[in-house]
């Protein structure tokens, strides 16, 4: 039984070390920043996760105390990894990409990164108001035109 646990722990540690190395090697090897963002996620999830589970199994099997701290670290890393990746990607878009190389976003306004205020609802409201004013102006012009035509026909009749 002890041999079994030893094999399990050794396998987990080797997997963890391998994926940690792969993640950092990808950080060096991959060609541009957006693809480099992809590599360390392997180290953060598989590598550290396998090492932490191996540590948990080790302390449960050989020291006789099952501690759940490791699961907390794993959970924390799983929660924070997408947030950091999102922030780094946003910073990368801001610094290295031009606005005309990006596809246009849905709806009105530009990408939130390029606008000083990320909230574009005021801009949309402004556009709606402009459209309303335009419609009102057109309606007034049409009414004036109709009135002028009526006035002209009356003048002809008289």
């Amino acid at each position: 039984m002890e041999l079994f646990w030893e094999i399990v722990i050794a396998a987990l540690l080797v997997i963890g070390g391998f994926f940690g190395l792969v993640g950092s090697f990808g950080l060096v090897k991959l060609p541009d920043p957006m693809t480099r963002l992809h590599a360390p996620t392997k180290a953060a999830t598989l590598g550290v996760g396998a090492v932490l589970i191996g540590s948990m199994v080790y302390f449960a099997a050989f020291k006789g105390n099952l501690s759940l701290h490791e699961l907390m670290i794993t959970l924390f890393l799983f929660l924070t990894a997408p947030i950091t990746a999102h922030f780094i990607a946003k910073a990368n878009i801001l610094r290295d990409w031009r606005a005309d190389r990006l596809p246009p976003p849905e709806g009105a306004g530009d990408w939130a990164i390029y606008t000083p205020a990320a909230d574009t609802s005021a801009l949309e409201l402004l556009e709606v108001e402009e459209a309303d004013k335009e419609a009102a102006r057109e309606a007034a012009q049409a009414a004036a035109r109709v009135a002028a035509e009526e006035g002209g026909s009356e003048a002809d009749r008289s």
Partner: protein, 89 residues
């Protein structure tokens, strides 16, 4: 067997830290350096846990939790500073 596996894993993470250092020194952009620092914090967490197994004490988990938290906050602060020119608006 566990000893050899531990040695292998520690060697792997040490080489990984050297790779991260290379990316921090060479890295052509600020975001590359931020990413490499974040990965460095993650590798340091793994090294701390491995050292805890090596020593047979559970005291290094607190240290690795602290590393996880400060690493996350530091990465977000760096990225926020690059994005907005300010950290707390």
């Amino acid at each position: 067997m566990i000893t050899y596996a531990l040695m292998f894993a520690i060697a792997c993470y040490a080489v990984a830290l050297l790779f991260n250092l290379y990316r921090i020194v060479i890295g052509p952009g600020v975001t590359d350096r931020i990413l490499a620092l974040d990965t460095m914090a993650i590798n340091a967490i793994a090294l701390l846990v491995l050292f805890g197994i090596w020593e047979g004490t559970a005291i290094f988990f607190e240290a690795s939790i602290l590393y996880a938290m400060t690493g996350f906050v530091a990465t977000v602060a760096y990225a926020k500073f690059v994005l907005r020119g300010d950290i707390i608006e």
